[in-house]
């Protein structure tokens, strides 16, 4: 008898497991799926390898205790295997293909997803002249899909964050300025918090679906804040910053035109910021080197001067 292609055996196994209304023992499976060895040990070994392959491909193979000498039965629940019909129109599917082609989130995950939706094949997702967007890839951030899963299932999560264990009710994920952030409610600190996903150590541990207790009225966007000067929990203070023409375009693109309270000569602007974290503000203004100046209020301006002196600035006021 010619040796059977393993793909054929695995395909048959998948069909049999999907078709059966009750869990099948290994002996029953071997009766229905051609190609398994007769010897018990070799058969078990071959089946376990096939089962692992299916699971690695995302097939939810259930193992259920059954009576009789074999004790374990196997099946695949169709509801857990099939996607509910999305009802995508052809132009919606085409738009999704373009999105996967134009956005880099760690290949080939997006392409595999399209394959499952019935829109696979390389030529379907070819790079176009449309802008490409690189979202720090998922392969570099193994915690990211896990946190996504936690949010979908409203599951409480625990993870280590820069060396400290954290207990969080996750609410949302945000991508900004090249980084992914988790926004949620920190149970130990009893406060809304934002975490940078690339600083989560190892894999987050998920609790049961539905175990998250995000407080009613929790607002992801106001928690996330717009900017580094809003990460702190200090009292809110309005700070005016003067930005030269050299950097004004970039700053206004970042803040939006509504932040501009005054326009001056040579393209300079004064922007007004609501600051709850003065250190965060100072770091941001330092990025602009001598193209920016904190105008006031005085205590914030003084904090900047202090920082500059600490960094070794020689006082040139006499000159």
């Amino acid at each position: 008898m010619p040796r059977l292609d393993r793909l054929e055996r695995v395909t048959d196994l998948l069909l049999v497991l999907l078709d059966t209304p009750r869990p099948l023992s290994l002996r029953e499976i071997a009766d229905r799926v051609p190609g398994y060895p007769d010897a018990h040990g070799a058969r078990r070994q071959a089946f376990e390898r096939d089962k692992r392959l299916l699971r690695d491909e995302g097939v939810p193979v259930l193992v259920v205790p059954i009576g009789g000498e074999e004790q374990l039965g196997y099946r695949v629940e169709p509801d857990a295997y099939y996607l509910p019909d999305l009802g995508l129109e052809p132009e919606e599917q085409a738009a999704l293909n373009l999105a996967v082609a134009g956005v880099h989130v760690g290949e080939p995950i997006g392409r595999d997803a399209l394959g499952k939706l019935g829109a696979g094949g390389e030529s379907a997702i070819r790079t176009t002249t449309a802008p490409l967007v690189d979202l720090s890839s998922v392969d570099g951030l193994p915690a990211l899909p896990v946190l996504f899963d936690a949010i979908r299932h409203r599951a409480f999560v625990e993870f280590d964050y820069r060396g400290e264990p954290r207990q969080v009710d996750p609410a949302g994920l945000r991508f900004r300025t090249g980084h992914w952030y988790l926004v949620g409610f920190d149970r130990d600190r009893d406060e809304a918090r934002t975490f940078r996903v690339d600083r989560v150590d190892g894999m987050p541990a998920l609790d049961e679906p539905g175990s998250a207790r995000v407080p009613p009225g929790f607002d992801i966007d106001s928690t996330f804040g717009r900017d580094p000067w809003q990460f702190g929990a200090g009292e809110e203070v309005e700070v005016d910053v003067l930005v030269d023409g050299a950097e004004a375009g970039r700053v206004v693109a970042q803040l939006g035109g509504q932040a501009v309270v005054e326009r001056r000569d040579e393209g300079a602007v004064v922007v007004r910021l609501s600051v709850t974290d003065v250190d965060g503000l100072i770091l941001w203004v330092l990025e602009l080197l001598d193209h920016a100046e904190i105008l006031g209020p005085e205590p914030v301006r003084a904090a900047m001067v202090e920082r500059l002196v600490a960094s070794g600035a020689r006082d040139g006021s006499a000159g």
Binding site: A99, E107, P131, L132, R162, R174, A246, S317
Partner: protein, 340 residues
């Protein structure tokens, strides 16, 4: 042909082919083979094998409904392995994030179909709580239009490493967002070569007609050979490596210098989060780390952000850089020239 990885990849491809065929019904063998990177012979072998799969007693109603003729292949909607499968968390995330990112591109016209697709995905997968924000620099729409139409631009460009503004004519070729910033690869009249520009550093831009520009053949991307951002030369501003979709890893240009820093361990993450640095090595309660620097201004920013505690070890001429920059900035405050 019996290796697990190979069988897994074949199974994944077979299921993708069946799922696609179920959508279109029937398709020419040549088309299907081309689409899924198979020879027509290999495609037919694979599908004939699958057509024999089924559930005992292998009566026709228990076999997979796959029909292979001399010229075409077809399957029926509802065939067991042709229905869409559930997505893994990574796959669901990738789809939801991709769609949101494309919708976040400023000026994305005609996104109705994508929004509708996203709504349907969200209902099935629950991706509502993902948000993607992209920069919206002032000149992005004009640059985007130039890339699309093959037009040229005259720009004034702020170079962050030299802290100067220069005038140049560019022929934009490719636009992309990476690391939270928009970049354009363009042929540059001033350099006589392809260069990479950060769109938010363009101060003014207008459409012009460039004479005698050398057109790079076939849309190749020599700028990617160095991955260097014009006027930046810093690892921090270069887009990260990304592989198949065409983002190149940062490779320091010939003029980049290595700078060795000593920082407090608590701040080491800030340096390590920059690409193209060496490993952080512990040294007497502190951490030593090496970064590639293409311009003084970039190093000044890094040192000022790291704070008074960070020191340059090598090269010695950079040791006073942070203090000099702090002095320059402090002058603004002492003169009080911003306040009236």
């Amino acid at each position: 042909m019996t290796a697990g990885g190979d069988t897994a990849a074949r199974l994944r491809r077979l299921l993708a082919i069946l799922a696609w065929l179920a959508q279109v019904g029937e398709a020419p063998i040549e088309d299907v083979a081309g689409r899924f990177d198979l020879t027509p012979e290999a495609l037919v072998t694979e599908l004939e094998m699958a057509a024999c799969c089924g559930v005992p007693p292998y009566t026709p109603d228990q076999l997979m409904e796959i029909v292979v003729t001399d010229t075409s292949v077809s399957t029926r909607v509802g065939t067991a392995l042709a229905r869409p499968r559930r997505l893994s968390p990574s796959e669901g995330f990738a789809l939801a994030a991709s769609a949101r990112a494309l919708l976040a591109v400023p000026g994305s016209a005609d996104s109705g179909a994508l929004s509708a697709a996203l709504d349907k995905l969200d209902r099935a997968l629950g991706g509502e709580e993902i948000g993607v924000e992209l920069d919206a620099p002032e000149w992005l729409p004009l640059v985007r239009e130039a890339v699309g139409s093959g037009g040229d631009l005259s720009i004034s460009y702020y170079s962050a490493s030299t802290d100067r503004v220069t005038e140049r004519e560019i022929a934009p070729r490719r636009l992309f967002a990476s690391d939270g910033h928009w970049y354009v690869d363009a042929w540059c009249s001033r350099a006589g070569d392809l260069r990479r520009f950060r769109v938010d550093r363009i101060r003014t831009a207008e459409v012009v007609e460039l004479a005698g520009k050398s057109q790079p053949a076939g849309g190749v991307d020599p700028a990617g050979e160095t991955g260097r951002v014009e006027g930046d030369g810093s690892a921090a501003d270069a887009p990260p490596g990304a592989g198949p979709s065409g983002f190149e890893p940062f490779v320091p240009g010939p003029e980049a210098t290595r700078v060795r820093l000593s920082v407090d361990p608590a701040m080491a993450w800030l340096v390590e989060s920059l690409p193209a640095t060496g490993p952080a090595l512990p040294a007497g309660g502190r951490v030593e780390i090496e970064v590639f620097v293409g311009g003084d201004a970039w190093l000044e920013r890094l040192l000022l952000r790291l704070g008074p505690d960070a020191r340059v070890l090598d090269p010695p001429e950079h040791r006073s850089l942070a203090a000099d920059a702090a002095t320059r900035i402090l002058r603004r405050y002492r003169d009080g020239d911003g306040r009236k």
